[in-house]
Amino acid sequence: MRQTLAVISLNLRSIPRRLGMSTATVGAVALVVAVLLGFQAIGNGFRATAERSGAEDIAIMLREGSQAELNSGLSRDQARLIEVADGVARDETDSGIISAELYVIVDGVLRGAQTEANLGLRGMEANGPAMRQGFSLVEGRMFSPGAAELIVGEGVRREFLGFELGQEIRLGTNDWTVVGIFSTGGTVFDSEVWSDLGVLQNLYQRGSSVQSVRARLTSPDGLERLQAYVENEPRLNLDVQTEAEFFAGQSSGTAGVISSLGWPLSIVMAIGALAGAWNTLYSSVDARAREIATLRAIGFSGLSAFTGTMAEAVMLSAIGGAAGTAIAVLFFNGLSFQGLGDSFTQVVFDLSVTWDSIETGIALAIMVGVLGGLFPAIRAARMPILAVHRSS
């Protein structure tokens, strides 16, 4: 309708008359959106990096429904069934390339704080190290089968006390010798310590049980064949997924937590921005009382006054939303971030501002505008026409 468009245009043209307040409102909304997008960018980056760090040609098998290695448990016999499974690659001697593994948590002492922190100790079979992308022994040698020897991830050596090459170290009630230092190029495994599976089973009285089995797949369709094999083998009740899928699943919880951390903060700030928008729009209505009343006297509807004020509010908040998005994209997108948390200590990842989160941010901004403009707009619609006689 023409009158509504005219009133909207009058409202928008009046914004420069309250430049200070209007800019503050835009700024507050921009901040809300930037904070929201910032947190989501951290979460998204975390997820993306975790997904990248897993291999597509390595399968991980855990007991059905166990989700994490620590909750899983498999027998030696089950592991041997996988060794001959369909879809699993073979070595020169025609045995399946697998590694059955046991994972325990031990206490280490952090260098900086001199306090104890959790550390993952993994017992693995001979094929285990080579199944990690980018694995290399940077110093020393591999652990020998049957010996209480450790190879230590670079991250562990850097962060914890007592893991230098050649050192003896007591973990729990057992003494170990550090015989090698390895690197996987910054993946999660750099934060682990590895030993021979049999030795670890022995020292921790686990008999012949393991928690996970890793297997190299023959080809891209190897996973499906392995899954079909496990399905048809009544002695196996396992979840089979690629390492990439496994890491994505592991990280999604953490990523979700980081992403959602932004919400409470954004909402508190959004309430502040809303109060700002409210205040700005009330002054708009008050400053333009005589204009609004004059239009009503001429015959314009109360609805057009309402719509004009809402349009002004939504315009301010939409500009704020766009500015906040621009800030997030310019300053956060692609930024490197040092990950936190037990096993992800070494993980460095890039922030990523996604379309999904931009849509959410703009929606939040517009909601601030709609809510902030609502009551001022009602006031505009109810403006007494006799305000035409006010002196300015």
Partner: protein, 228 residues
């Protein structure tokens, strides 16, 4: 002469808290088609209130405001807004122009409520600006115009939709003598040439002299006196 307005038994009271102020009590009045009436009277005597009632931007406490058979006081808000847009033009002491719009855009506002095409609206806006002698300033903003020029824009806006009646509340109250005389001559011209019925409130006896009828409002009563 045919009556344009017939006010019958009109009362207007304001209640402020427990107090009640009576502005009019059982006032009767007729305004004929083609009248140019000036209303004078002391401050607070109800002159503006009377214009508000005539223009349908306020309602009487009781009594009837009849304009050509329409009971203005009985119209719903929506119908009243439409009636105002078609029947009355308001001219204010402080012009009440939209500061961000040009003279032409200000004058066009009442036409935005009609179905006229953009081209037709432009034609009418220019005609109105021409009648009040300010067509050469059509692109100027109010802040770029003198008080007298702004009031001319205000008058152009009041006449652009071709209403029968113009209601002017101290239209020259903010202008110097010469400018005031020019504006009053314009109003007189609109009355004589275009047959606009004009009701003008003023404090200025010289301004009142331009009208064909002078009324004095005092304590809610009229004292009429014809100009010769």
């Amino acid at each position: 002469m045919t009556a344009l307005y017939t006010l019958t038994d009109l009362s207007k009271r304001y209640t402020r808290g427990k107090e009640s102020i009576t502005i009019f009590e059982q006032l009767d009045m007729t305004i004929d088609q083609g009248d140019f009436i000036s209303i004078m009277g002391p401050s607070g005597s109800g002159k503006t209130t009377l214009l508000n009632l005539l223009g349908g931007i306020d309602r009487p406490s009781s009594g009837a405001v009849d304009c050509e058979g329409t009971r203005v006081d009985k119209l719903s808000e929506g119908k009243l807004a439409k009636w105002r847009s078609q029947h009355v033009g308001f001219i204010f002491q402080f012009y009440n122009l939209m500061p961000t719009l040009s003279a032409a855009q200000n004058v066009e506002l009442p036409l935005l409520l009609t179905n006229l095409s953009g081209k037709e609206r432009k034609r009418r806006v220019e005609t109105a600006l021409d009648i009040v002698g300010i067509l050469d300033r059509k692109g100027h903003r109010p802040a770029q115009l003198s008080g007298g020029q702004q009031q001319r824009v205000g008058i152009a806006r009041a006449i652009v939709a071709d209403p029968k009646v113009l209601l002017c509340d101290e239209p020259t109250g903010d202008l110097d003598r010469n400018t005031a005389d020019e504006v009053l001559e314009t109003l007189q011209l609109l009355n004589r040439e275009l047959n606009k019925t004009i009701v003008m409130v003023t404090h200025d006896p010289a301004a009142a002299g331009y009208a064909s009828k002078e009324l004095h409002l005092d304590k809610g009563r009229f004292v009429a006196k014809e100009n010769t």
